[in-house]
């Protein structure tokens, strides 16, 4: 029994060593910009770069639009499937898992071929159209996570009874969705939203192949042209990912707290 415990500690310590060395490495490297001493010069250089601000802002904006569109697309669908088409749930669920099966690079290849300037829906012809296509692509990437989160959220409430109660009080579909369903799955929706944010903010393949000035392609460009700035960017990206995950934990914990109080 004692030897089992020792082996457990060894496995855990080896894992931690592997996980933390690259994090320490990237942080240490990002401080080396000034010769002979540690400094935050690389960060200053990155944060002062107008390209950084432009691309980061673009990606944040894309993430926000993706989240809004994703919520508008997923919440009514999950609701409707639970209410009226329960038998089709496996089919819909299967569709939402497809983005995990088909590599994103293949799907975006399809976009480029299908929606080019000579097609019936020439989305890539204009900057605005390409932005729209990119947003659809990001929604597609986030679909498995968003759908799963909202579906789990709706499982805890009795959709049928609540909807009938609302209808007998005279509520329309929009009212039911906005004032009954959405508040009930808010935690799930927020979890999905933060995960979407984490995915979109550093995404590279879709943005690069659709030629949009997003943060991912900017990072790759910096990686090819600068020495210490990429490490600083990696630290920033890591902090953003941590923040998103921390927010998910926070909203989940807060909601568990309020639920417990209500009982």
């Amino acid at each position: 029994m004692r030897s089992a415990k020792i082996w457990s500690w060894i496995a855990f310590a080896a894992g931690m060593l592997y996980f933390f060395l690259p994090l320490i490495g990237m942080f240490e490297f990002s401080l080396r910009a000034r010769r002979g001493e540690y400094s935050f010069d690389a960060y200053a250089s990155v944060l002062g770069d107008p390209q950084f601000r432009a691309t980061f802002g673009y990606s944040v904006l894309m993430a926000l639009f993706t989240i809004i569109f994703g919520i508008l697309l997923v919440v009514p669908t999950v609701f409707w499937v639970r209410l009226k088409l329960p038998r089709w749930r496996p089919v819909i669920e299967f569709i939402t898992l497809l983005p995990l099966v088909i590599p994103p690079i293949v799907i975006v290849f399809g976009y480029i071929r299908l929606y080019n300037t000579s097609s019936w829906l020439p989305l890539t012809g204009t900057a605005m159209g390409t932005n729209l296509l990119l947003m659809f692509g990001y929604t597609m990437l986030a679909l498995p996570y968003m759908y799963r989160a909202v579906d789990t959220g709706l499982r805890t409430i009795d959709v049928q009874t609540l909807t009938e109660a609302a209808q007998s009080l005279g509520a329309g579909w929009i009212t039911i969705l906005a004032r009954l369903i959405l508040p009930n799955v808010l935690v799930a929706v927020l979890s999905g939203a933060f995960l979407t944010f984490a995915i979109v903010i550093g995404e590279f393949v879709l943005a690069a192949l659709l030629n949009r000035p997003a943060f991912g392609p900017y990072m790759v460009w910096m990686g090819a042209n600068k020495a210490y700035e990429p490490a600083a960017l990696a630290v920033i990206a890591f902090v953003v990912t941590w923040a998103c995950m921390a927010l998910i934990q926070l909203v989940t914990r807060l909601s568990a707290h309020t639920r417990a109080q209500q009982r």
Binding site: F19, L21, Y111, F204, M219, A237
Partner: protein, 293 residues
């Protein structure tokens, strides 16, 4: 035999109305998921003029593209295997090894972050750590007098890419296997001990056979996961290492060959491999769930 009740008349009318509610979703899935994929798959079997052909598929079997597929498959198999083993050992240590309880929550939270910390920043972190001037390379040289690059090690290589991919593979395994480990019932262990089994015998003859389907399933998932990874490889190697996603990327950008139909065929090969891997995952996952709960 009793008479069957007559079919309800109202059912026919209400069906299209019911579908109306999911129409936006189905339209979205069709336009931005299914049609683009179909276009690629069909394109792989078509000439530019639109006739059926197998020439594109045959185009994959040229030395350079076959080689890229082979490297990709080997990297994916190796990182899936190592990711499974390492992730399992760490998860088992935390759930079953008697380590303090708070470590478990911390590990799961960290795994959630690390499995999402893929792509470009991950490549930068490894360059900063194991690159020629990286943190670890420098420490090994100055403190231990060990010249890592003198041994022929190079981060921009098969080994380097494997080491980097493991950073998102291991946490994913931890996240998936922890619930399965929790599903191992205490009674099984007690029963095994009553019958005189040692700890190793319990793992070999009880726990591992139960976990086996979920093991293999996760292996398939990790395989697909690393096979489709593009951004990490691009940022790490530029385009000097020819793995399939990088070749496809170059093909789409149009910097290599101007034959989109060969691109279709390569993409089709990717779908085929990740599709099979995911199918294996789904099938084994449902088998594994019999034991959990």
């Amino acid at each position: 035999m009793t008479d069957l009740p007559p079919p309800k008349a109202g059912r026919r009318v209400s069906l299209p109305l019911n579908w109306f509610g999911v129409a936006p979703f189905l339209l979205f899935a069709l336009l931005f998921l299914i049609l683009p994929t179909m276009h690629i798959v069909l394109g792989a079997f078509r000439t530019p003029a639109g006739d059926f052909t197998l020439a594109n598929i045959r185009g994959i079997f040229t030395a350079s593209i076959m080689n890229a597929f082979w490297i990709s498959i080997r990297i994916s198999l190796l990182t899936a295997f190592l990711g499974c083993v390492a992730g399992f050992l760490i998860a088992a240590a935390v759930t079953r090894g008697g380590l303090p309880g708070p470590l478990r929550g911390a590990l799961l939270t960290f795994s959630g972050v690390a499995s999402n910390f893929a792509g470009v920043p991950l490549a930068f972190a490894f360059i900063a750590t194991l690159g020629r001037l990286g943190f670890l390379t420098v420490i090994l040289r100055e403190w231990f007098g060990f010249n890592l690059y003198g041994t022929g090690f190079n981060l921009i290589s098969f080994l380097g890419l494997t080491l980097t991919y493991l950073y998102f593979q291991i946490p994913l395994m931890i996240l998936i296997v922890t619930p399965a480990l929790d599903g191992l019932k205490r009674e099984w262990k007690e029963a095994a001990e009553t019958l005189g089994a040692t700890g190793a015998q319990y793992w070999r003859m009880v726990a591992l056979p139960v976990l086996w389907p979920s093991f293999l399933g996760t292996f398939a998932l990790l395989f697909a996961n690393s096979f489709g990874a593009v951004a990490t490889a691009m940022a790490l190697t530029g385009s000097s290492l020819s793995i399939v996603p990088i070749i496809l990327f170059a093909q789409i950008r149009g910097d290599v060959l101007q034959d989109p139909h060969l691109g279709y065929a390569i993409a089709f090969g990717m779908i085929l491999l990740t599709g099979i891997a995911n199918l294996v995952y789904i099938v084994l996952r449902t088998r594994a769930e019999r034991w959990v709960k």
